[in-house]
């Protein structure tokens, strides 16, 4: 691989370069428009229409959240921590409270663990549906844009019943969760997940088995297993390359050890594989939600936890919708952390962007790029 292209001046849209051998390449600045997920730019060098060089240019939505957390009480930080990925808010929230509880030595009651898992899985479906709708519109399939966004409301309503909020819940707090299950929730959850599973079959019919999609996604943006591991990829990006790594199984947390579900992997590492991993995970999440409402134990939902962070260090991580989300948390006895290093799934998978794009045609860029489910806001924090 040649050296990465130099950032082009902000005013330039494109520039041509001639190498010593006389070959001409064109450097394009793709972005930083809001491409459905937050602002970011890719600097792409093409030879003809083959991508020969890519440099991601993130940072357009950087908020300095690590600094903000350092200056705030650990409880007040919860809404801030959800902001990088509001469509996957509870999973990010979970990584935070897990790290805090680890330093505090607080055990969460079993019912609280089940409720956390319930919201996490609902969030996984919501996040994957949002991803799918953008994927649809990227590929010019307007129905696949409308349907997932419509069906996402099934789970948004359910989450509202449980937490009182549609998108950003701040539901997980150190020691447990904020609210218990409302009456009639179990029946509603079963009804909605069963309906949603029928809808997934229709998604297959209209999109995933459609040559319009398969011919554009199969063999495009291949990321080998070795490369995915070496680059530190996680989540569906890693599993799409044939590694059956999932923290819900590998480092079982919350209620996951007591639930029955499969880790979905695909061996090929192309855009199609990564898309199918997302689909499989939505099916598994439906199964998990039904198991939870069926076997949720009774008891308290929350144990009293101190609002100070004792001296200590923790590396708390969870499997969020886009991969592993972790906090490297250092406490020094006050109510604020000394350092809270926040690494999200999208940030980890940013390293895969050049790897999946190189060698593909420019027209295949949307297919390959969006299959990583890279969320600029989550990566920038």
């Amino acid at each position: 691989m040649s050296a990465p292209p130099k950032p082009v001046p902000l005013t330039t849209v494109e520039s041509t370069e001639t190498s010593e051998s006389g070959a001409q390449t064109l450097t394009l600045s793709v972005g930083p428009q809001h491409s459905g997920s937050g602002h970011m730019r890719l600097i792409v060098e093409v030879d003809g229409d083959i991508i020969v060089n890519v440099a991601p240019d993130p940072g357009y939505v950087h908020r300095g959240i690590e600094k903000i957390i350092e200056l705030r009480n650990i409880i007040k930080s919860i809404p801030v921590i959800e902001r990088p990925s509001i469509i996957d808010a509870s999973n990010l929230n979970h990584a935070w409270v897990r790290s805090i509880e680890e330093i505090q030595g607080v055990e969460v009651p079993r019912r609280g663990q089940y409720l956390r898992t319930l919201l996490n899985e609902m969030n996984r479906i919501m996040s994957h549906l949002y991803w799918l709708s953008i994927y649809g519109v990227f590929l010019g399939h307007t129905t696949m844009f409308m349907w997932p966004l419509g069906d996402r409301e099934l789970f948004i309503d359910l989450a509202e019943k449980l937490t009182g909020a549609r998108i950003t819940y701040s539901y997980l707090v150190p020691g447990g969760v904020r609210r218990d299950l409302p009456p009639g929730f179990a029946e509603e959850a079963v009804k909605r997940t069963e309906y949603f599973e029928k809808r997934l079959k229709e998604y297959d019919r209209i999109f995933f088995n459609n040559p319009l999609f398969t011919s554009r996604a199969k063999g495009i943006g291949v990321l080998s297993k070795e490369k995915a591991i070496e680059l530190g990829c996680t989540g569906p990006t890693l599993r799409g390359s044939g590694v059956d790594a999932d923290l819900r199984k590998d480092e079982p947390y919350a209620a996951y050890p007591e639930l029955d579900f499969e880790v979905s992997t695909r061996p090929d590492g192309d855009s199609f594989s990564r898309a199918m991993v997302h689909m499989d995970e939505m099916r598994e999440s439906c199964k998990i939600i039904r198991q939870i409402v069926k076997k949720i134990p009774s008891g308290p939902i929350r144990r009293k936890a101190p609002i100070v962070l004792p001296r200590g260090v923790a590396y708390g991580r969870v499997e969020s919708a886009r991969g592993e989300c972790s906090f490297y948390l250092i406490g020094e006895g006050g109510d604020k952390p000394y350092r809270a290093r926040y690494i999200t799934g999208s940030y980890r998978n940013m390293a895969a962007i050049p790897a999946v794009l190189l060698g593909n045609r420019l027209a295949d860029m949307p297919t390959a790029w969006w299959s990583i489910d890279y969320w600029p806001v989550e990566a920038d924090r």
Binding site: G64, E66, S326
Partner: protein
Amino acid sequence: MSLSHEREDALVQKLKENFPADIKETNIIRRARLEVTVAPEKIKDIAVFLRDKLGFDHPNGVSAVDYNRESRFEIVYHVSSMGIKDMRDLVLDLKESVPRNAPKVGSLVSVWSGVENYERESFEMFGIQFDGHPRLEKLFLTDNWDGPPPLRKDIRFPTD
């Protein structure tokens, strides 16, 4: 889940046997979490050993911590293993300290290529120089940012 730390102890043992003079401190935080503080000039050799001999093939992240009261930065490489399935829950923190007035260390991009972005972020947010990094430029900050590295402890928000 067992409560013993046999696996972690064995890892620490192997590291100490192979690098008796360069492992400064080891600490098992809990099951599946351990910290190893090493001499900065030997970190690359130890990283290669971790990757090739102990199976830590997956870079999980890099954190920089500013201990301004002790006048040092700490750089923490969080590494895990994908190749060895039984070790996937384990995260090893490979740590090194550099003086705050001359923050310069060797880059580990040649060992784990996935640390490239994290090292770039530590460079722009803390001002730590990584020798041998292929592209040590700003990542998140704008190109025309000329203020101090913003995540250092002595940088305050205007509203503080």
